[in-house]
Structures are given as C-alpha cells and as structure tokens.
C-alpha cells in the first residue's frame, strides 16, 4: 500500500515500473476541521438515542478508483487530481489518497 502521507512506502511498490499495473486508489474526503458537519451531528445524536456513549463523530466520503498506471505514484497523482478537480471541494474539504495494487 502506498500512502500519500508516508512516502517511504513508495519503495515497496515502484518495482512495477516495467508495465502497467492495476491499482485501487482510495480517496477519502473529509470536512476540514472546524467546518460544521450537521449530518454527523444528527448521526451522533441518533447513536446516543440508541444508548451508545461517544464523544464525537466525524463523517467522510470514500471513493475507490480502479485504474491502470505505471507506478503507485502515478496512480496516486491521478487520484490526487481527481480529488482536486471534482471529488473534494477545497473550500470545505481535506482529502487523502491511498494506493494499493488491485
């Protein structure tokens, strides 16, 4: 698995430079810290009504994108651009991308 936030892992997966490999890029889109999340608040209250104890609940959208690329880094770059241009809204969201061979 190649995680955007831990570049050392790249070394494990760039051995496949000689041909295209199928990867699954997992893009997780979250509201930025401090941005109100009414749906999460509603869900939290519903859990509390069910008798659960919890301090906080955050929600996120996750997209799994299968794609062929020359390397995990190339796959991550493409998924990154997908997040920048459509999957996330930079005004309210942060996102991260993880790539694994499919």
């Amino acid at each position: 698995m190649y995680n955007r936030t831990s570049p050392k892992r790249l070394l494990l997966t760039t051995a496949h430079y000689d041909s295209m490999t199928t990867y699954t890029a997992t893009v997780t889109v979250r509201l930025k810290r401090g941005v109100l999340d009414p749906e999460a608040e509603t869900t939290k209250r519903a859990l509390e009504r069910l008798g659960f104890e919890l301090d906080a609940l955050r929600s996120a959208d996750q997209f799994e994108v299968d794609l062929d690329a020359e390397s995990a880094e190339a796959a991550a770059d493409r998924a990154d651009e997908m997040a920048e241009r459509l999957l996330a809204n930079p005004t309210i969201h942060d996102y991260d991308v993880e790539v694994a061979e499919a």
Binding site: V35, L36, D37, P38, E39, E41, T42, R85, L86, L87, N89, T91, I92
Partner: protein, 225 residues
C-alpha cells in the same frame, strides 16, 4: 436582450426564471446545457433545481459541464451572470464565485420565506434597493449554508462583495434569523466582477404578482434590463 437560462439535467426552476424575467421585461429562453451558450446571449441565469440529483455535492456535477467554460468566458467579457439556489451552488463549485454552499446547519431541507438585508446597493443586482433595505424572498434548499475560510470571508467583506444577509423583519442580522447557519448570515455574493452574482433565495419566486406573495425579487432580475 436575450438571457440564456441554462437547463441542466435536474434543473427545475428554469421555466420559472424565464417567466419571471419576461415579467420584468427581459427576453429570456431556456438553453439545454449540451447545446452550449448562444454566442449572442446578453445574460446568463443558472437556475435552481437539483442538477444531477445533487450527487457528490449540490452543483458539483453541473459545474463541470462544458457549457460552464462558455459561461466563464462570457462572465469574463462582462456578460451578467446570476446563479440562484442550485445555480448558486454551481457558481461556487465552478469557482465563478468564492466559497461553498453546503449542508444546512439544521441538516434539513428548508422551504420558507426569509428576510434579507441589502448590504451593497451599488451593483446591478441591487440597484433597485437601498443599503439596509429589508426584502422578502423565499428559500428552498438543503445545502445553502455559506462556508468560506475566515481570511477569504474578511476579504469579501472588505471588497463589499456581500449582496444580502439573512435578517429578521426589522433588518437585524441575528443567528435566529439565519435559516441555514451561513457564515455571516450571507445569502448572496458577488464574483470577481460585480456583473456575476449568486444567491440562495429565489428572486424568480418573488416576482410574479399572481403568486400572491412578495414582489421583492423583481429588483434582482431587473439587473438584466
């Protein structure tokens, strides 16, 4: 003067907009987004509705329809562009206007009449009003909470780009009068140019006398006259 009211899959206020514009003397016609923006369009309305079922985020899909490139070019040429409700969400998603409209603080769809205080009357959209005027226009949205980073919000205020704020009937801008939790009670803003504006309330629903409600939306639509 022909205003293009752009119909995306799922737009549903396009006919209302054409009719309301006609009432204030503006010739308007619906344009299917795949047909591109007519080169002689003298104005553009991005109407309300639920384009693409609000998939991903309200307005996110329509913002990437090729016609939005035409709209951006037209806006850069000074053609007036107004986004209403879903059109406002599309405007922000396409970066015609700053910020984002996201889930109401109530997490509910809200359909009600609201009061707006005119913050800047020196724009085509608000020339019919005076600063501080309180107007009544309906909202109908689930994702109308205006969000923007603090610095960019401060810049919007400093540049006098806030058109309307939600207020009570006396013009007091309060949390209680804020229907959706918008930052600064913001209901409508300008783009980089004063000829580009988006707003969550529906001026076209407060224009026709036969609807039996406020006619305060006429002033906004009169920008196209």
């Amino acid at each position: 003067m022909t205003v293009a009211v752009i119909t995306f899959g799922g737009s549903n206020c396009d006919r209302d907009a054409v009719r309301a514009l006609g009432h204030v003397g503006v010739d308007a016609e619906r344009v299917w987004h795949e047909d591109g923006l007519p080169s002689d369009a003298d104005g553009v309305v991005l109407p309300g509705g639920f384009s693409y079922g609000d998939y991903l985020r309200a307005g996110a899909m329509a913002a990437h329809s090729p016609i939005m490139n035409d709209v951006r070019d037209a806006a850069d040429d000074g053609v007036p562009v107004l986004g209403v409700c879903n059109g406002a969400q599309i405007g922000c998603e396409s970066t015609l206007t700053p910020g984002a409209f996201t889930t109401n603080a109530s997490a509910r769809f809200q359909c009600e009449s609201v009061h707006l205080r005119v913050e800047n009357a020196d724009t085509p959209w608000t020339a019919a009003y005076d600063v501080g005027d309180v107007i009544e226009i309906p909202i109908a949205h689930g994702e109308g909470r205006f969000e923007i980073g603090e610095e960019r919000y401060d810049a919007l205020v400093a540049e006098d780009r806030i058109l309307f704020r939600y207020c009570d009937a006396d013009g007091n801008v309060t949390d209680r009068a804020n229907p959706n939790g918008s930052r600064g009670n913001v209901a409508g803003i300008l783009g980089d140019r004063e000829t580009v504006a988006v707003m969550m309330p529906h001026p076209e629903r407060a224009t026709l006398p036969d609807l039996g409600r406020s006619l305060d939306g006429q002033g906004v639509l009169s920008a196209f006259v």
